[in-house]
């Protein structure tokens, strides 16, 4: 291997850490730990943004980093922790697929994402284009987490992790998104979390539990229409 600059090595390391964190979240059952992992993911993103800003000298990345710090590392985890305390959901129920099956599926998804990203990487012009595959993998793994979880809180964490993945993808492909887009996305995410928080209270009042399979009773039954 020829001499690769330190910042690029650190960026690759951050990318690998992000992948690792997605797998860790996939296997985690305690919701508190999930939110902590989300915070760690946010800080890794922060580090990556700062490194990229230092390397490319693009100042809007510093602003982006500040936004990440405020929102993803501090505000959102704090909001989620508050929700957890007030709703009392500390543990997730048994996931749809067992842990080893989920991990196996995760590995297959990663291979798929890496394969998918190779032609895209060739089109991009940034130095970090190899990491696009990892970004796609993080997005797909978070989606998998949302699918296989039962409690609503874990699905919110999955949603936020997906957004982190998209952000990282944008960063590695095009050195960040235009600031307008970033602010818009950040606002969307914040509002989404607040609205979801309100929803959780309503769900809890209706079903006495945040287990989402209770929502499955809302469906058409052939017998119901005949008034049984």
């Amino acid at each position: 291997m020829s001499a690769v600059p330190l910042t690029l090595q650190l960026l690759n390391f951050c990318a690998a850490l992000l992948l690792l964190l997605s797998f860790a979240m996939l296997s985690q059952r305690r919701v508190v730990n999930l939110v902590n992992l989300l915070a760690v993911q946010g800080s890794v993103l922060l580090l990556a943004t700062l490194l990229l800003a230092a390397r490319t000298g693009q100042h809007h990345l510093y602003l982006s980093a500040a936004l990440t710090l405020g929102l993803k590392v501090i505000l959102l985890p704090w909001l989620l922790h508050r929700l957890i305390r007030r709703l009392g959901v500390y543990w997730d129920a048994e996931p749809l697929l067992n842990i080893s099956g989920t991990m196996l599926l995760g590995v297959l998804i990663v291979v798929f994402a890496f394969g998918l990203a190779q032609p895209i990487s060739q089109l991009a012009s940034t130095a970090t284009r190899n990491a696009i595959g990892i970004a796609v993998a993080v997005v797909l793994l978070s989606f998998l987490m949302m699918i296989t979880r039962r409690k609503a809180m874990s699905q919110v964490v999955g949603f936020l992790s997906m957004e982190n993945g998209l952000f990282f993808g944008a960063m590695s492909a095009t050195y960040g998104m235009p600031m307008v887009v970033e602010f818009g996305v950040a606002l969307d995410v914040l509002v989404a979390v607040l609205v979801l928080g309100i929803f959780f209270f309503q769900i809890r009042e209706q079903f006495d539990s945040l287990d989402l399979h209770h929502l499955e009773t809302l469906r058409e039954e052939a017998g119901q229409r005949r008034g049984t």
Binding site: V4, L6, A16, L20, F23, S27, V107, V110
Partner: protein, 316 residues
């Protein structure tokens, strides 16, 4: 084959034989410090082995020849493995005979013979230990081979000394694939050497034993050889870890006697640090239930696979 290579080989073998019980003693010492109790002497494993050699052997009535041969075969396999691992120098005449895959096979041979010997006497404890040992083994071996696979992909060879030489002479850098595989390797080391969180080396409860259960029937010189072989196994695994992940300090290429001599205190330093880290990991972890062990090892396997994928994608 230059004379320095033969000297390196013999020196490595002698160091492994001599220092393995000391390494075990040092880990016990660190564990005691961390648990705020006074430790037995570092030299206690030596005294134990010596005491055992002086005793008469008691063998079960229905033990076969396999039972009596197994300690020698296990010990021999571990010594041969110590000859392949480049702990002090990378120019070893033994290299061409066995590469890293053969090394893993050698460790598997030792494990199979130990398990067969445990089944030989036909008590519930021996077969229990054999079954659990093979269960840990069949999950740890793929993880170990995956780790070696990643290292081979980076160095384009499967000979362990060549891998070490390549990794030692590369430009210093942060390789996430190697970081992942290092974590996987530590987990495999803990599992294969019967350390917490897989097995408690100091337990006396037969139902919780994995490695100890296989040694229950052995006594005197056979037990001494098995204990020594277990210490050698831990030493070998530590040296494999150094060879793959901390290769600097090993006498590479055309290094002469001076480089070889310089590698000895470096090896000692690495072992001291590794012992401390192992003791720390053992102290903060709790022993897992036996059926959580596959999950533990599956996580190690996952780390190794992730390291492979990251290497294929990022080239790092």
């Amino acid at each position: 084959m230059r004379p320095i290579e033969i000297v390196t080989q013999l020196l490595e073998l002698a160091a492994a034989l001599a220092a393995a019980p000391l390494f075990v003693g040092w880990i016990n010492q660190c564990r005691a410090w961390l648990q705020n109790r006074s430790a037995p002497s570092i030299w206690l494993p030596y005294r134990g082995i010596r005491k055992l050699f002086h005793k008469d052997a008691v063998i079960a009535g229905n033990a076969s020849q396999l039972f009596r041969l197994a300690p020698y075969i296990t010990f021999g396999a571990m010594v041969a493995a110590a000859g392949i691992i480049p702990s002090m120098g990378t120019r070893l005449p033994f290299t061409r005979i066995a590469d890293a895959i053969a090394l893993v096979g050698l460790l598997a041979t030792a494990r199979v013979f130990m398990s067969l010997a445990a089944m030989d006497v036909g008590t519930a404890f021996g077969t229990l230990g054999a079954r659990r040992e093979m269960m840990v083994g069949f999950l740890a071996e793929p993880a170990l081979l995956m780790i070696i696979f990643v290292a081979s992909l980076i160095s384009a060879t499967t000979a362990l000394p060549a891998i070490t030489e390549h990794l030692a002479t590369q430009t210093l850098g942060l390789y996430p694939s190697l970081a992942f595989t290092a974590v996987a390797f530590t987990m495999v080391l803990l599992a294969e050497n019967a350390r917490i969180p897989i097995d408690n080396p100091a337990t006396h409860l037969e139902l919780t034993m994995i490695h100890e259960a296989m040694l229950l029937e052995y006594s005197a010189r056979h037990l001494a050889l098995m204990e020594w072989a277990a210490a050698l196994k831990l030493f070998n695994y530590a040296c494999i870890g150094f060879a793959l992940f901390i290769p600097w300090g090993v006498s590479t290429g055309q290094g002469g006697p001076l480089a070889l001599l310089a590698s000895i205190p470096l090896l000692a330093g690495k072992l001291i640090a590794a012992g401390g880290v192992l003791a720390l990991i053992e102290t903060v972890s709790a022993k897992l239930r036996v059926f959580r062990a596959p999950e533990f090892l599956a996580t190690a396997f996952l780390f190794a696979v992730l390291g492979l994928l990251v290497h294929l994608l990022l080239g790092a």
